[in-house]
Symmetry: C2
Subunit: 349 residues, 2 copies
DNA sequence: TTGAAAGCGATACCAT
DNA sequence: ATGGTATCGCTTTCAA
């Protein structure tokens, strides 16, 4: 004892339960209980051990823990190959941030798998889907019948799909209320007495594209408007596509446009300005997302705010429950959205 | 044998070296050698074992492998707490993507640690810096004397700093040639016969802020210009700060501005337009980064392109060499940048 | 070339 | 409440 203690303090590089135990005068079992917050530890022992853990900055070896417990304490976010834009889109950056944060708060390690090309996809799918490597997966939903999506859904690892997957209605997913968001947007325009309300929708093979257009149509019909196909154009969520889509709509003289993303809304504003028209005087614009650019544009964009960070947190909370409670019943979660009124629609009080 | 073989094939969920060995009639040691491509295995044994591995889709348990080999096969990207903007900045999204891709290509798993608040920082730093958890780290450089930076630099895990760390001149880092980029930008403006060339610099406590301003001054002096403090304003790389800085410069009638980031350049363009002036007719603008928004602005932004994806790839290549060859000598890598001429400076041929 | 066996550092069951 | 010990699945000497 006399000789070994100082030595142990010296080589902090390889701290183990055993060494902490020696320093605290208890067995490795007891230290393990302290680390894992097991109830059966007396208060003074717990205190003593915790003090030493703090002093030495001990933290358990994850490999050993994984091997013994048959859990990896890793949660992965998977971006399928068919997600084209990916990191060009600030949405994914925020999503990643939210999920990483929530993962760490639950004491899991966060791993990111971007399957950006076939080579990486082939290499990673077996690793990702093999039981034991990863405790839980968040998989970004996609349009196509993506390889990784079906592998995960049919595999045995707990997962949550981020975004409603059109092809798999009966799986665990989390999404924002796209339909209601679109309705909020359009009803705002209706309240401002706009009569020719157009939309720039997203691609119709992914749920945000589909649902936001559905909401647009629903709101119009609910308020007795006639849906005019000439006032509907399709983009792919990028600014450039919004610009093009707006050019397509302008000949039909809309007095308002609901864009299914902020980026497309900003593109539309540019097209409108180039035509010599003014936002919001001549045409009102509502976007969707409320990402930072919406606040810095001129005019500032009225938009539908989706809680991206909360989305990540909620996804991880669901996932952790699945992992730790071994639930398997599919569960759907829809997060609310809200209208954020700025300057691109006029009529602000 | 008769009874156990079918059983083993049945429960593929828990394949181990031992079971593969039993199926192939060899020991676990031999199977391990086959899996790890060790030379000392006879051809027919290797063949037999590989066949079974393929049939059973066996893949080794990473936790066990890590524990035994004292390597985790994980490479982490650390975003220190003092990196304020983080994911609002498209730069980090691209950086993350490049590093994730390169990491996977080298058969490591990619983990992301965003130390966005003190709680997460306290929780993660011991884990990150503890030997054995992570084989190598890429750490984003920061301004302040950040806790995690000094811990990593003084620790024993191989690392590469992304961006020149001002406080630690003698560590392994990778950076882009900020000084030369700024020189390219300013010389372009000089060639276009601009006489009153201002700059919107970044914060002077981080290297991209410092170096790009140094390059600006260097280029002016080299060409016999007098550096006018009134033509220098400081931003923090955001669009909003560029807008404000431009407002500060305009009374001194610059005919060109070198903005140390695209975002600040875009903010400057907005301020200039609001003042009733035109870009590039009245004032030329050069940005820095060449992120997507530079291409979608009006006018399209002339800028300095930095190879962010290559940056990530290069960082991982250096890191992997450090990890696998156990090198420890500090190494500095500077990547070249290039001028991308678009419409914000005029004089385009 | 191959096999046996000793770790790696946790967890968790079983005694006490 | 605490300690002893088998165990997780692999890597890696050391013998044979």
């Amino acid at each position: 004892m006399f000789e070994s203690a100082p030595k142990l303090i010296a080589d902090m590089s390889n701290l183990t339960l055993e060494k902490i135990g020696k320093l605290a005068g208890v067995s490795r079992s007891t230290v393990s209980r302290v680390v894992n917050n097991h109830p059966n530890v007396s208060d003074n022992v717990r205190e003593r051990v915790e003090k030493i853990i703090k002093e030495t900055e001990y933290s358990p070896n994850l490999a050993a823990r994984s091997l013994a417990s048959q859990r990896s304490f890793v949660i992965g976010l998977v971006i399928p190959r068919s997600v084209q834009v990916f990191f060009g889109d600030p949405y994914f950056a925020r999503l990643t941030q939210g999920i990483a944060q929530a993962t760490n708060l639950h004491d899991y390690t966060f791993s990111l798998f971007i399957l950006e090309n076939r080579e990486i996809e082939d290499r990673l799918i077996p690793r990702i889907t093999r039981p034991g490597m990863i405790d839980g997966l968040v998989v970004q939903s996609t349009s196509a019948d993506d390889k990784v999506l079906s592998r995960v859904i049919n595999g045995s690892i707990p997962y949550v799909i981020a975004g409603r997957p059109l092809e798999y209605p009966n799986v665990t997913y989390i999404d924002v209320d796209n339909i209601n968001g679109a309705i909020l947007a359009v009803e705002h325009l209706i309240q401002l007495s706009r009569k020719r309300i157009g939309t720039i929708s997203g691609p119709q093979n992914i749920s945000p594209g589909l649902d936001r257009k559905l909401g647009y149509i629903h709101a119009l019909e609910k308020h007795g408007f006639i849906v005019d196909e000439n006032l509907i154009a399709e983009g792919n969520f990028t600014e450039e596509s919004g610009y093009q889509a707006a050019k397509q709509l302008l000949p039909y003289e809309p007095d308002a446009i609901f864009a299914a993303s902020d980026s497309m809304g900003l593109g539309a504003i540019q097209a409108i300005k180039e035509k010599g028209l003014q936002v919001p005087q001549d045409i009102s614009i509502v976007g969707f997302d409320d990402l930072p650019p919406a606040r810095y544009s001129t005019p500032q964009l009225t938009t539908i705010r989706q809680p991206i960070l909360r989305f990540g947190v909620a996804a991880i909370e669901i996932l952790v429950k699945y992992v730790e409670d071994k639930i398997t019943t599919p569960q759907k979660t829809i997060l609310g959205v809200e209208l954020v009124i700025r300057d691109s629609c006029g009529g602000k009080q």
